[in-house]
Symmetry: D2
Subunit: 404 residues, 4 copies
Amino acid sequence: MKQVNKVVLAYSGGLDTSVIAKWLEETYRCEVVTFTADLGQGEEVEPARAKAEALGIKEIFIEDLREEFTRDFVFPMFRANTIYEGEYLLGTSIARPLIAKRLVEIANETGADAISHGATGKGNDQVRFELGAYALKPGIQVIAPWREWDLNSRESLLAYCEKHNIVVEKKKGKSPYSMDANLLHISYEGGILEDPWAEAEEDMWRWSVSPEQAPDQSTYIELSYQKGDIVAIDDQPMTPATVLAYLNKVGGDNGIGRLDIVENRYVGMKSRGCYETPGGTIMLKAHRAIESITLDREVAHLKDELMPRYAKLIYNGYWWSPEREMLQQMIDQSQLPVNGKVRLKLYKGNVTVVGRQSDNSLFDENIATFEDDAGAYDQADAAGFIKLNALRLKIAANKGRKLL
Amino acid sequence: MKQVNKVVLAYSGGLDTSVIAKWLEETYRCEVVTFTADLGQGEEVEPARAKAEALGIKEIFIEDLREEFTRDFVFPMFRANTIYEGEYLLGTSIARPLIAKRLVEIANETGADAISHGATGKGNDQVRFELGAYALKPGIQVIAPWREWDLNSRESLLAYCEKHNIVVEKKKGKSPYSMDANLLHISYEGGILEDPWAEAEEDMWRWSVSPEQAPDQSTYIELSYQKGDIVAIDDQPMTPATVLAYLNKVGGDNGIGRLDIVENRYVGMKSRGCYETPGGTIMLKAHRAIESITLDREVAHLKDELMPRYAKLIYNGYWWSPEREMLQQMIDQSQLPVNGKVRLKLYKGNVTVVGRQSDNSLFDENIATFEDDAGAYDQADAAGFIKLNALRLKIAANKGRKLL
Amino acid sequence: MKQVNKVVLAYSGGLDTSVIAKWLEETYRCEVVTFTADLGQGEEVEPARAKAEALGIKEIFIEDLREEFTRDFVFPMFRANTIYEGEYLLGTSIARPLIAKRLVEIANETGADAISHGATGKGNDQVRFELGAYALKPGIQVIAPWREWDLNSRESLLAYCEKHNIVVEKKKGKSPYSMDANLLHISYEGGILEDPWAEAEEDMWRWSVSPEQAPDQSTYIELSYQKGDIVAIDDQPMTPATVLAYLNKVGGDNGIGRLDIVENRYVGMKSRGCYETPGGTIMLKAHRAIESITLDREVAHLKDELMPRYAKLIYNGYWWSPEREMLQQMIDQSQLPVNGKVRLKLYKGNVTVVGRQSDNSLFDENIATFEDDAGAYDQADAAGFIKLNALRLKIAANKGRKLL
Amino acid sequence: MKQVNKVVLAYSGGLDTSVIAKWLEETYRCEVVTFTADLGQGEEVEPARAKAEALGIKEIFIEDLREEFTRDFVFPMFRANTIYEGEYLLGTSIARPLIAKRLVEIANETGADAISHGATGKGNDQVRFELGAYALKPGIQVIAPWREWDLNSRESLLAYCEKHNIVVEKKKGKSPYSMDANLLHISYEGGILEDPWAEAEEDMWRWSVSPEQAPDQSTYIELSYQKGDIVAIDDQPMTPATVLAYLNKVGGDNGIGRLDIVENRYVGMKSRGCYETPGGTIMLKAHRAIESITLDREVAHLKDELMPRYAKLIYNGYWWSPEREMLQQMIDQSQLPVNGKVRLKLYKGNVTVVGRQSDNSLFDENIATFEDDAGAYDQADAAGFIKLNALRLKIAANKGRKLL
């Protein structure tokens, strides 16, 4: 067994990570530092302090990372119109690199030689935490209790608590789902979702009303962009986290952002997940709209072709990698002219773009018009354009080459 | 001026192509053959016969191509989850190659040495018609009157009609939009849409009710797939065109499939377009769902990375090209296991996947489960997996390499 | 420890795999089946029989796989002009899938429940063997002694031999390099090569003379292609393995095919390797030449863009994967017109293409000519072609958009 | 005909562009400004002054652009290991954007409203000149006489000279080839090369001796890199143009850099070309070598996958485009750690890397070694790595999925 002196634990205050805190101490005879972050999951983080203290923790870090999370992780990702496997907005994936970074920084600060987390050995999160940690601090030890211990059921966890005097809150209506939440989304896995044919139950969803329950009146909003990021809503300047919180609210109220998919995990299996991403769903649609008038065609297409690879990097846990940063560099560069406004209509689950405008617009009404363009475009040019583009096809056909 | 003996004209029966028929005869002193196809545009094609006869046309081709269009063009395209620029389902683009093919075949049959069409010199359609024609019959002449003549306004067209005794139908409520329709979609351009900030007017839309007007009750449907294509709805076997017509109906009734975008044309300008694609919108969502349980992860990702390029080929008019066929080969191959069922909920503009099942499913509940998996998956494997994936990052960090 | 009844061992007859045979028997108390293949490594395989018998092996498989190896693995790979990291012709990588396949087939035949190999835990070969085996027979056990035992030095291996009465041949002039050979190449690693600044010693190389030692006269050869594969040399029809052996001979005699690189292993480290691939070096150059006149431009470019990914799949051990097969399908399809002849000059390390011809050539002298082309090409078409390709750039510049 | 007041002509001083100068004046009744650049083509540019004066030109620009050409165009291109269609080092393509830029700048300076060049309507160069000009100055007029006039033979050009008193130099031994040269390469097209089966004649080549004629002794050189560019040879600091000139000399002396290919032009035809690129051939090989120890694996692979597209952009004339600049940004970023030295052996056409070293090396001898690594790498990690990478393949096989 590895020698560990002090370990920084990603600590939620819940049952699992409370058990982990004790188990680390007991198993590795090491000091435990807890780190609890407010990433917008919608639960108070301050109560984690008392719980950690009750466990005898001496170094307790509790931080509000909502702005950093949105500004440095969520927004850069949305600049690329990022979607994994055509559907998933990467709400869980994008939060992990920030946690990995803070775990490592706190380890540096407190002189810890290890970090620990409560992710299981079957999921993607362990990969995301650990790749990040190794990339940022290659000598770090990582302890992943779920891959090591034998407390593999709720019963054994509860027994462990009893034995070690860990206070367990009685939550009524404990969800049957495995959930994760941050300012970008909330996710659900497990329970009846393990049958991909079973419809998710209405009472599972927490962040949005159903389209059926949403208001009968549509809501219009205007998003203002600077360099690809939203800086104001309805002309009200807002910080990144405020933008996202606002869009979650208005989106969730209008039944926007539910998703039910089967996805491919990096560790090799398919899994069913349900997600609510109200603000993200609006942002994706709106960002494409502002890009549609401000980006050059070939720049946009290059971004589109590279997006699946960029999404995969984030999904698989390679945020802290040179190849992600290389792509980010290119993506960020492309966003310099992505300024202007998008007007949206929100209604019962629908996000509709109804207008876009920009001082950097490349939309040229004089050329695009169906009316007389006063010579801005010479239609005769098209003949040569087509003929030379066809030349290789004509030569091939002339030489008897058959299309398949 | 090129010497032309006989020309096959893509003839709608409307004002523009009627003028073209006469203009071709007059300008090139050639015989004109008309070709009118039912691609599901929703208007009778048979009336085109009388109109062509009134123009003195002797060889008149009127054909119902709805099945061929759906089976050989629309369905293959949807196997790739094809979307242009993140939004557009290529409803116009995919109809052009079939028209090009039939124009060429009719030219071969009737001994014509030219084809002609009514597409303008500013748009993509001229490119799609002509690239197809040149690829399939390299010696063909193409006459594109809008690039040649000086009848550049509705007034001059009407004057031409009067002069040449062409009967012009008085349509009441002539749309201010330039429209195109086929079984996959209907499109709108021009008019107030030329201002990208202006919201489309509700009375523009023709194929779908607005989400607001859609029923308050949701509709559930089940789509059955074989090799990536829908073969039955609610267990009723249907032909491809019947599938698409059915989905257009149920989709349109539920306010599904409206789109408002600015897109990049192949000829170099941005243009605003509105589209209704009710059935296609449902098909895209459902196809991703059936693939999500039947496709291998890396196959799915490869498809996703190549899709934008495939979409661009179709948008730009390269359906009849060896590179499109090469990609199609690969896409079609991937669809062999894409069999099974998808269950969907349709409600006021929303298409929600609520279930998917397949005898070819790669979803393994025993491995994916949050419950005890009886050793199907060894969590300890993840440690080695992560460590070797991290190795290059650790070496770099150890050697002092900074992430950006 | 896993329960194993019978294991099929990839057996070379050398020291390492002889020790492994005994160690498997001793450690797992299981029967051992040996499999020895002639892949063109240049050493007799029949002597392995006596050695296996001396070890008490009862089921001994010795096979000549040179034709299958070349026809079903090497040739398909060369259809894609495959190179890893711009330099490496994948000589080792491409042999592993065939061995994996035969190990699994022999396991099926002999009722074995495990396979074993002598690859170390640091290299790519373990990955290639095992991914292949798992893909083809998911329930198979894999035993990789180098990852399990403690015989980690030559001394401990020799001690083991002495203890277990394993006869060790005294090779004089034992190479200081770790080598691997098959009909496609021979590789060298380790020894002084572990210093990337150190030049390889001349006496390391075994398959080729140095360019300095090669003849002062050049050699011309003509290769005939059908569907992308060489079927005759100098008009002599030959089988795949005969082609490759012939090209190795003539290439090696002319100092062709040496390579010295640092490459990136799948397991995460960089490693220095030297390779001799005389025939492969000739084949790559010649295949590009025959494609240059027979492939459509866009097909060729698509192949070029996908090649690095295809190469990576083979390097990383994913020959037996659906994504490799999906790409292969597309590549093979592209080769239907790749027929004809290439004429090459070989001289002191240089492979020069001096001619190419094909009945499927798309080279059109009438159009390409600098002389009068009698109207085959209308130069005026180029103006429109350029103008429309420039349009988006002009609009952007007109609107004040600066290039970076 | 377009109205032109003053035109800047890319003027070589040769027959063709002298005729063009006069023809422009006569045809467009406009003033002509000549621009002659030393790009390292190996001919004096100063004599062009007298010739221009003899033609009555008043504004004459003669410039030495060798450093700018190498520093801002050639070197950035080589950072990407750029090759078109697997073979071509883009020697002609990369010179055109600089000429386009200077033509536009001189037009701005002299108040000219048009530019003109001597490229034909069949080739790529017209596209490269004109796309660049339009991108940099969208209102510019471009006059391409070869697409407009009827002087389509040498005879008619000579007749024109006689008629207009243009002095024609009698060159003895006029080459039968169409040639282009700059510091990166010299190219040959036309003549007997129009038959792709015909071997190029030895006396065609001008910049390099044949491998047969090269010295019997090899030459060793050491190249020093900073951020991906060569800054010194054999420890002698040199400017970019000096580097390239030096490598051309030593490469040409050693028979390095000849190439004979059939390539695909952007305008749609295949064409045969022969090239001498001695310095470039050395640079490509050496740059890959320095990258091999300094670049992260995934960064290198990403570069490799994007390279064909980047090469195509340059070949097709899109140097001055936002998508090329976007890729360049990413490529340049990747080069920050590409520092160090490469040692090369040059011998009769061969460029062999014999050593590479760098302070930024990611090569880790402790991990890569075949000897005892003192625990730097845990071979047991490989088992988990392989098992999780195999998981999707195992699940598929378990569910009866057959590889194709």
